[in-house]
């Protein structure tokens, strides 16, 4: 039963008729997708559940605008991505990242990736993930979204286009800009901050 693709048309018809069961089923079916997007683009001090709820409420309120030109999950993913970006815009940008602000594990990871050796296998994956989050906070919300999808989640440009609705060239420009900024951050940390 779980292997069957959900019947989105039937669920949407139910929601349009005001059927509570269909609305609940739609939320349940879409939750893995929404949760994944929300979790990977979650701003500081915003609860995952609150953000997910906002995505679903937007989906319900805009349902009349959905014409079936794309699969429902793609349409919902765009709502989720833009909702996350809106929240990230409101989030104050973190002050410049300094070596002294890093935890011991994060500093070790940074030291390892800045060294020329290929010793990344020895780095603490959780600390690396934390450090990635800190670095991503230095980017603009849209650039952060693109680089998260591209580098962290290893999605293709075509997949990002589907998820966000942005054009290929915009995605490439954002990725280029984000990587350039990250490179500068690494250089800055290495030259000025490295103990």
């Amino acid at each position: 039963m779980d292997d069957q693709a959900p019947d989105y048309d039937a669920l949407l018809d139910g929601v349009r008729r005001g059927d509570q069961v269909a609305a609940r089923a739609l939320v349940e079916v879409l939750h893995p997708l929404v949760r994944k997007i929300v979790r990977s683009h979650l701003p500081r001090r915003v609860a995952e559940e609150d953000l997910a709820q906002e995505v679903y409420l937007k989906m319900f309120s805009r349902l009349e605008q959905y014409r079936g030109e794309m699969p429902l999950p793609h349409w919902v993913s765009r709502i989720a991505v833009t909702t996350c970006i809106d929240h990230l815009r409101f989030q104050q940008r973190r002050p410049e990242l300094r070596w002294a602000d890093l935890s011991e594990n994060e500093a070790e990871v940074l030291d390892a990736v800045l060294s020329s050796s290929d010793g990344e296998d020895a780095t603490d994956a959780m600390a690396a993930k934390e450090l990635v989050g800190r670095l991503l906070e230095q980017l603009s919300p849209a650039d952060r979204t693109v680089i998260t999808l591209l580098d962290l989640e290893q999605k293709s440009v075509a997949e990002i286009r589907e998820l966000t609705g942005w054009g290929t060239s915009m995605i490439k420009v954002r990725a280029f800009r984000a990587r350039r900024k990250l490179r500068k951050l690494f250089e800055q940390l290495e030259r000025k901050e490295r103990p």
Partner: protein, 98 residues
């Protein structure tokens, strides 16, 4: 030997981090969100349905009444004004005397 991009090394390490907890929905979350979503869908339509037609009817009634009452008065005033303008035009009177 070319140095590997530190960002790429870092994300490669971050990708090895174990996935976070399962995708279980919080208890009652779907029910609450579904109820809120459906209520939200009903509200604007109900409000619009309740007020828009009445407002439109009142607006049309006011428009027609004001047009019906105002037009004869306006046209009468206009004709009076045009006559008085002719009579009270000092330049015309001065020119006529020349």
């Amino acid at each position: 030997m070319k140095r590997q991009d530190p960002w790429m090394k870092l994300v490669a390490a971050a990708r090895r981090a174990p996935a976070e907890e399962s995708a279980e929905l919080p208890l009652g979350f779907a029910t609450r969100v579904a109820a809120l979503g459906l209520a939200q869908r009903r509200e604007p339509a109900d409000l619009f349905g309740a007020f828009a037609l009445r407002a439109l009817g009142v607006a049309l009634a006011v428009l027609i009444t004001s047009a019906a009452v105002g037009f004869p008065l306006t046209s009468a005033n206009a004709s009076e004004n045009s006559t008085s303008d002719e009579m009270d035009d000092p330049v015309a009177e001065f020119v006529a005397q020349l």
